[in-house]
Amino acid sequence: MELKELYQEIILDHGKNPRNFGKCKDFTSDAKGHNPLCGDKVHIYAQLDKNKKILDLSFEGEGCAISLASASILTDILKGKDFNLAKAITDNFLNLIKENKSITLNSLNEDQKTTLMSLSGVKDFPMRVKCATMAWHTLSSVLEKK
């Protein structure tokens, strides 16, 4: 369990300066996530078009560095993707964190992969796994609501 694996530069950066924070304009679907045990909250907004594409994506929320960074990275990576791909990336990410499987998708560029992988340090901190996954579970609700 290495602390610096958990709090990598990328995480700290996304935690302090979350991307896509706030309500995106003309959002068509949204959902909330909440971890009652610690109080972390996330609210994801998405503008979805009829061709099953995520036109815009943003979030509001409060919580630890991990949960903010996770939501920030999610919006950054999935904005502009279409549903099925977003779903596949989400599954891939959850498998990475929960089942320790490796990321297989080559739809992500190296930069995005590195960013996503920076969240994987959480694997060794079981009590923090929920912090990293909450936004992703919430995104699934957003897409299902559509």
């Binding site: 602390l3 919580g63 630890c64 560095a65």
Partner: protein, 405 residues
């Protein structure tokens, strides 16, 4: 008092956390257990175990005696007037549920008012919320001041002739503030309003005397009192317990059972349905013995020393913000760091073997009031030292390094 000697009674301190000695500052959450309690439980199961009160064979006699002897010990420990006033529950939570349910069933009706405070733990709110829904009763929250203290004037303001009970914490599990209970109870008594005290955080730090305090109900969690999990105590004045209907139904609490109707035993039996957690009750007697051997006055003297030492150090440290500043307080230091979420603090502290709690501590009303969704909390038990505080402060400094602040 030599803390190292006391610490030696607690086997867990032999353990290393992330290769560091364990600095346990989470006793307000649950305290560690001395060897005497752990061993008493094993001894009971290995030599004396049987179900209590139900059979007449020798093991059952021993078990029943040990169980009831502990009731006597608890009675003495909190200076209750009658042994029938001591009910064993699953924890403080069950104790409050029992009272809200049983007292509420009988004495609280539509429009009646229940007074709580903004400091209450969810355990001392959710059961009353059920009652509010069931009986169309009203809950009023007494406001706390800027130091996050309960003030008797705010309670006084809320009292009307519809007030049926005041339920209030003895010590806040977030601020450590000690409630001016005696004054509040005297005020309530003068208006014939019963008072339930959530003593979960009070019992481990303050000497209890039910007869002097004069409250109507007092709940305790044994696991915060160096005793086993899954056990609590409800003290209730006999005059209420005699009148209140039973809570859970089952074996052991009945008088006579017919197809058409059932009559019930007297307190405490009436409130102890089903097979009880005998081993835990018996082992809890060892917690009481340990506390009495050291002395609660000595325990709180040392805890207060450590607490003051910690608060002083934190006050001198500009980056740490104290949460709440009650004049009269015990055991608990809640704090935040600018730019670092309490969860991250807890994780980084853990890397140095320091166990604290982060979150809303089951006090969302309070956290909403102070505009924070979470705080970090260090809480002091009888085994903590000033050294523990030094390690805590160093670990807090490390948080800033990890976060490059």
């Amino acid at each position: 008092m030599n803390i190292d000697q006391i610490k030696n009674n607690f086997p867990i301190f032999k353990k290393k956390i992330n290769n560091k000695p364990l600095v346990y500052l989470d006793s307000a959450n649950s305290s560690q257990k001395p060897k005497s309690v752990i061993d008493r439980m094993s001894y009971f199961y290995e030599n004396e175990f049987s179900n209590v009160g139900r059979s007449v064979h020798s093991l059952a006699v021993t078990a029943t005696n040990r169980f009831e002897e502990t009731r006597d010990l608890v009675k003495k420990f909190i200076n209750a007037k009658h042994r029938e006033e001591i009910i064993f529950t699953k924890g403080a939570t069950e104790g409050i549920n029992l009272v809200a349910n049983s007292f509420g069933e009988k004495y609280i009706n539509e429009g009646d008012e229940i007074i709580l405070t903004e400091l209450e733990h969810h355990s001392n709110y959710v059961p009353w919320h059920y009652l509010r829904n069931k009986k169309k009763a009203v809950i009023k929250f007494a406001k706390i001041n800027e130091n996050l203290e309960i003030q008797i004037d705010e309670i006084k303001k809320l009292i009307t002739n519809k007030t049926k009970i005041i339920a209030i914490t003895h010590i806040s599990n977030v601020t450590g503030g000690i409630t001016p209970l005696k004054e509040i109870i005297d005020l309530a008594s003068s208006k014939k309003i019963p008072v339930l005290v959530d003593g979960t955080q009070g019992a481990p730090h303050l000497k209890l005397d039910m007869q002097k305090l004069g409250c109507d109900f007092y709940v305790i969690s044994c696991h915060k009192l160096y005793g086993p999990n899954g056990l609590g105590i409800l003290y209730g004045k006999k005059k209420w317990l005699d009148e209140m209907p039973p809570y859970q139904g089952g074996g052991g609490m009945i008088d006579e059972v017919k197809k058409e109707n059932i009559t019930f035993a007297e307190s405490p039996t009436k409130f102890e349905a089903g097979t009880m957690q005998t081993a835990e009750v018996v082992a809890f007697s060892e917690s009481i013995k340990l506390i009495e051997k050291i002395g609660l006055d000595k325990i709180s003297e040392n805890e207060n020393d450590v607490l003051r030492y910690g608060i002083d150090k934190i006050r001198k440290n500009n980056s740490i913000n104290l949460v709440g500043d009650p004049k009269n307080k015990a055991s608990v230091i809640s704090f935040t760091l600018k730019g670092i979420h309490p969860h991250d603090i807890a994780t980084i502290l853990d890397d140095d073997g320091v166990a604290i709690r982060a979150g809303h501590h089951c006090c969302q009303i309070l956290h909403e009031k102070i505009g924070m969704s979470a705080t970090a909390r260090a809480s002091i038990g009888l085994y903590n030292t000033k050294e523990d505080i030094d390690i805590l402060i160093n670990a807090i400094e490390k948080c800033k390094k990890v976060f490059k602040i």
